[in-house]
């Protein structure tokens, strides 16, 4: 039988982070961009947006990603999906950040895998073309391919688990990996998430009128919706004692994880905010923390009317207006399956560098709730405990708690 954990839980350290987002390739670019409140949203040019309401997204500089990838020529020229390039670059940064980290398991979140290659395959059918690249399209369409490419950076034959829980996928991946290490089921897990912009998903959010033709303004009274983003982030998790013994860098500690499912509707949260509230309550209880212990909340904050209404209500009910809150999606859009992982990485950076990333484009906070929003400019602060939220289609909600060691 599976053994129920009876020994004291292990502490779980984050020993390295790798990040590729519209705010930069790597931590060195990301920290100043977060501090400066950089706006990483730009016009979409990869596909036709003349007939969509929204025309912008948070886009990764793929040319820079290719430049940074340290691969021998043969591997460099292999056809790859942008998601693979981003995952490989994030993996490379983790390797450089903690060269001694050898993952036993990969737990990765995504929502759409290599969707744009599936689109290319469909268009080829319509246009009655059979290009040579279609074999690569098919192999790279499946969601495990970017994970395999990242594994290749370690030449690792470790197994992988790929979670597709819509927009909560990244946080679910980090949370599940945390639970495995804390429970002693694994010693070292590489976790995170990825997603790359695709036309199908872009139009999907547009068709639901969830995306906006304007700026993304989380928690603003006049918010009109989200813009999509893309990126990848990876976090190296290891049992704290093991990491300390080998002299690994200890960037932060993950202390809690909460998951809830809101069965109200496939795409709309219950108006009471019960789903987000349960996820946060469960994460805090898991971390043996109270709302008063938390210094900063990296909110899901998509800037849709429904999400911010329910999340704002849940945060206000649970934390009042003491805790600083921001949605970093205001700077880079919503990277779907990567969002939770990227925001976990941002939370680690906030703990490490002692600042609060801003919620940009805020003009007038929604008066429905009183929140302590980090409005428009970052703040220097003493940050010891952070909550990071992700909520998704299917009513899936996930929250993690991160702390300074």
């Amino acid at each position: 039988m599976y053994s129920l954990s009876t020994s004291p839980p292990h502490r779980v350290a984050v020993t390295a982070v790798g990040i590729v987002s519209p705010l930069g390739v790597g931590i060195e670019e990301t920290v100043p961009a977060l501090r400066a409140g950089h706006d990483g949203v730009s016009p979409v040019t990869a596909f036709d947006v003349t007939r969509t309401r929204c025309k912008t997204a948070g886009l990764v500089d793929l040319a820079k990603v290719r430049d940074r990838l340290d691969l021998e020529r043969a591997r460099r020229n292999r056809p790859r999906h942008p998601a693979s390039l981003m995952m490989m670059t994030a993996a490379q940064e983790v390797r450089r950040g903690d060269p001694g980290f050898e993952p036993e398991l990969f737990v990765i979140g995504t929502t759409s895998g290599g969707m744009s290659f599936g689109e290319a395959f469909y268009r080829a059918q319509v246009e009655k073309r059979r290009p040579h690249t279609r074999a690569a399209w098919l192999a790279n369409y499946l969601p495990q391919k970017p994970v395999l490419e990242a594994q290749g950076m370690w030449s690792s034959a470790a197994p992988s688990q790929i979670i597709a829980n819509a927009c909560a996928s990244g946080t679910n991946a980090v949370g599940h990996a945390f639970r495995l290490v804390r429970g002693g089921q694994q010693r070292r897990v590489l976790c995170g998430g990825y997603d790359a912009i695709s036309e199908m998903v872009f139009v999907g959010f547009d068709s639901l009128q969830a995306s906006t033709p304007e700026m993304i303004r989380p928690f603003d009274k006049a918010r009109t919706g989200l813009v999509l983003g893309e990126g990848a982030a990876l976090l190296a998790l290891e049992e704290l004692g093991d990491a300390q013994k080998r002299g690994a860098p200890i960037l932060a500690e993950i202390t809690g994880y909460g998951i809830s499912t809101d069965n109200h509707h496939l795409t709309q949260p219950h108006p009471s905010g019960i789903g987000p509230r349960q996820a946060m309550e469960r994460a805090l209880a898991d971390a043996l923390r109270t709302p008063g212990d938390v210094d900063y909340i990296n909110a899901h904050g998509t800037a849709t009317v429904f999400n911010d209404a329910t999340e704002g209500t849940a945060i206000a009910d649970l934390f009042g207006d003491r805790v600083a809150v921001s949605s970093t999606k205001s700077m880079m859009g919503h990277a779907l399956g990567a969002a939770g992982a990227i925001e976990a990485a941002f939370s680690v950076l906030a703990l490490e560098h002692q600042f609060l990333p801003p919620n940009i484009h805020l003009r007038e906070p929604d008066p429905t709730w009183r929140l302590n929003i980090v409005a428009n400019t970052s703040r220097e602060a003493s940050v010891r405990c952070v909550v990071s939220n992700s909520f998704g289609f299917g009513g899936t909600n996930a929250t993690i708690v991160l702390e300074k060691v």
Partner: protein, 361 residues
């Protein structure tokens, strides 16, 4: 074993499925025993005129699944999943009261997901323009839509996960479920694999030289359907799911499979192998591995009758193995006591996986 949690086991306490041969456990078993095979359906790629083939769940079976208000806008994949999940919970004899639901989680295994709505939605974008794409279709295209519908049926407000990969993903889901059970927060996990077919999926896999052509015998017969296994603390069968292994080069596939087999059956003795042979390139590799490690062991390959149901197929194999151990026979075979069954698959996209089932009585 390659990871700390690999050796952990759980108990099988409920089974359910929806297959091209029906949705009742005993009825499908009897049909397998009679040598029935899934009836292929020929469809045409409307863009190129090329004929394609797959094994559907028959309309009669779909009608018998009944209507469900929550699923009124859903695609077939969610119908199959909910039907298999509900059947497995019923088979387990569990009444999901709010208290029981609070200690129940869901883990889904999916490879292609909601391809019918995904293709229709993208077709609207390409042929009618982005402003004509229906918002009714898009939500059902997400991988976790079937899991969401089943969670709503059960009233589960806790853990619900959807895992994605190739046809080995069912083993990952079983191992994931065992990891969840080990936290002590749960009494049971309902593990469901589900898949639907569409011409674009058949075209892609045929183009990839994985799926067979109409009338052909080489390549896999793609199939749709679902299978569900309830894992918990009680049950007559113990399950050990392997976390799997990536296969970076095809020449390494034999070794990856053999390593998984050796991890699961360290003594090298098992009564039955439920294999993943489906007519594709992977068969020869799996055959070599099994011949070397289990030359005398009885083998049964359910995909030869039920087709290759992608994300659902590993769980269909597990259901077959569980029924075989309980009945003491493979479909159509003579009864004899069997204590253990190895379930194994080499996936079509660089994964290998497996599980071991043992009788506990």
């Amino acid at each position: 074993m390659p990871s700390n949690s690999t050796g952990q086991t759980s108990r099988i306490c409920g089974l359910g499925w929806v297959t091209p041969l029906g949705a009742d456990l005993d009825e499908v078993w009897a049909r397998l025993g009679r040598g029935d095979v899934a009836e292929p359906r020929v469809i045409t790629n409307p863009e190129t005129g090329r004929d394609l083939v797959y094994a559907p769940v028959p309309p009669k079976t779909v009608e018998a699944l009944g209507r469900n208000p929550r699923l009124r806008r859903s695609s077939a994949i969610s119908y199959f999943a909910v039907a298999a999940g509900l059947a497995a919970v019923q088979n387990a004899g569990v009444c999901l009261t709010p208290e029981a639901a609070a200690r129940t989680a869901i883990v889904f295994a999916i490879s292609s997901g909601g391809v019918i709505y995904t293709r229709k939605f993208y077709e609207q974008i390409v042929k009618q323009g982005a402003n004509c794409a229906s918002p009714m279709l898009f939500p059902e295209t997400v991988y976790n839509a079937p899991a969401s519908h089943l969670a709503a049926q059960f009233g589960i407000d806790g853990a619900s996960y959807t895992l994605v990969s190739d046809c080995t993903v069912g083993f990952s889901a079983l191992q994931f479920a065992t990891q969840l059970l080990a936290t002590g927060d749960l009494d049971r996990v309902v593990v469901v694999g589900t898949e639907e077919c569409d011409w674009i999926l058949c075209e892609a896999y045929r183009d990839w030289r994985f799926a067979r052509r109409p009338g052909g015998s080489r390549g896999a017969l793609l199939a749709e359907g679902a299978a569900a296994v309830v894992l918990g603390r009680d049950g007559d069968l113990e399950l050990t799911a392997h976390p799997g292994a990536p296969v970076f080069r095809q020449k390494d596939a034999d070794a990856a499979l053999q390593r998984i087999h050796a991890d699961l059956v360290p003594g090298g003795t098992v009564n039955l192998v439920v294999g993943g042979a489906n007519g594709s390139f992977a068969d020869a590799i799996e055959r070599r591995a099994l011949l070397e490690q289990f030359p005398q062991t009885t083998q049964y390959h359910p995909k030869q009758a039920l087709g290759e149901a992608l994300g659902a197929s590993a769980l269909i194999q597990v259901v077959v193995a569980a029924l075989a151990l309980r009945k003491g026979a493979i479909p159509g075979g003579n009864e004899r006591r069997m204590d253990s069954a190895l379930v194994t698959t080499l996936g079509y996209n660089q994964q290998a996986g497996g599980a071991l089932l043992r009788r506990l009585d």
